[in-house]
Amino acid sequence: MTVQTELVNVAPSKLSVGEVSKRFRSKSGVVQALDRVSLDIAEGEFICLVGPSGCGKSTLLNIIAGLDTADEGSVLCDGTPVTGPGRERMVMFQEHALFPWLDVLSNVLFGLKLKPGLTRSERIDVARFYLKLVGLEKFQRSNIHELSGGMKQRVALARALAPNPRVLLMDEPFAALDALTREQLYGDIQRIWQERKKTIVFVTHNVREAVCLGDRVVLFSPHPGRIREDFKIDLPRPRDINSVDLAQHSAHITKALKNLLNTREDEVAE
């Protein structure tokens, strides 16, 4: 295998979530995190899962990642059931989860070293390619603590992209960043998604962020976690989070989200 073939875009995956349920036992009893959730995600689709905390959107992401198992139902990735984590489905977490004992380049190399078929120098070339893609080629030898929050998430993105996965799973990756840094990353992630052709599942509680990034925005409701609505966003790309069109779309979805929360409170009141 050469660097060139390694860097070729792989075909993105089709994901199929079928009737997935997941319960957690807590002190206050059993919490139904997911209740028979079904969702189909097309090849190369950018899908955003939105909902208030406790609606199970992160749980679903972890199940797709293979880090968690469903109590019932199954997740198919290109028709094959997901039984554990796999290199074709890489995850980006809210906390960057970079390893402080390694420098930037070695962090990106971590996953590559576990991928067979590449020599040492080829791996380094691949890692440099992805660091360049996220605009951090000058920081390969930096320590993690020397980077800003936004730079850390860029390294985490490079690390997730490096094994050339078919699916990218992102769990509120920008939630801890300041607004300006976030806006830059919205631009970057859209560009990279178009260049590298991945299926992206993006979890967020920020409706505007979801509308800015997603082809589809899927609305979850909590207790029990269920899918309530599925919005198609066909705004042209690249999208600017500050555009009026985008604001209108997100206002529409925010309204739906509020309705959903209100009806739930009514149910509780009854």
Binding site: L67, F99, P163
Partner: protein
Amino acid sequence: MKRFIYATAFFAVLIVTWEMLVRARVWSPIVLPSPSMVGEYLIAAVADGSLFEASVVTLKRLVLGYLFGIALGLPIGLITARFQVCKDTIGMLALGLQTLPSVCWVPLALLWFGQTESAMFFVVVMGTLWSVVIATETGVRTIPPIYARAARTMGSRGIHTWIHVMLPASLPFVVSGMKQGWAFAWRSLMAAEIYVTILTGFGLGHLLHYGRELHAMEQVTGVMLIIVMIGLLADKVMFSPWERFLHRRWGTQGK
């Protein structure tokens, strides 16, 4: 450079004051000899080779026992961190034995191994082992779970995760545990060497002990000085580079 000058000046003043106090007969040189007397002893002991021989014997015991203690302590620490049942059993044992000064093992060690190197080896291992076990266990338990999760998504499993994630992630704790283990081992070995005669070799502790028997306080003080030097050297050579690396990578304090 400035710091070096300060340090040198401080020790120069200390030694000169000491020398002058002895010469002024503030106390008898039999009680505490002057630096020049200690210096004379050291020169003579270096010349006849006795000091070098004793240092080699002692350091060999220390290094062998210490390395073995680490090699044994790291895996035990990892196992206690991994399995709750091991934490409740081996972990408790380690905690108890860590509070026991390992020189307390000397009577049993002599009975089991006789006046041999094995007895010394055993005492040094007991000094090192438990500190390393406890530090490794604490280190692994304080690792944010997200590291292991992230590693799993990248295809890391089992042994690979332990070697490439858990061990380096717990390094700050492990290094401080190794440092503590070193200190315990060094103290225990000195106590043991002063306490009993080991027939297979005379270490620094014995040299110090004979100084006492002969009322040669310049020998006692000279050997004490060498023991201090070895301790300082070990710190600078073995631990400082690690600590500098940790501070640089983790971004904790330190220059």
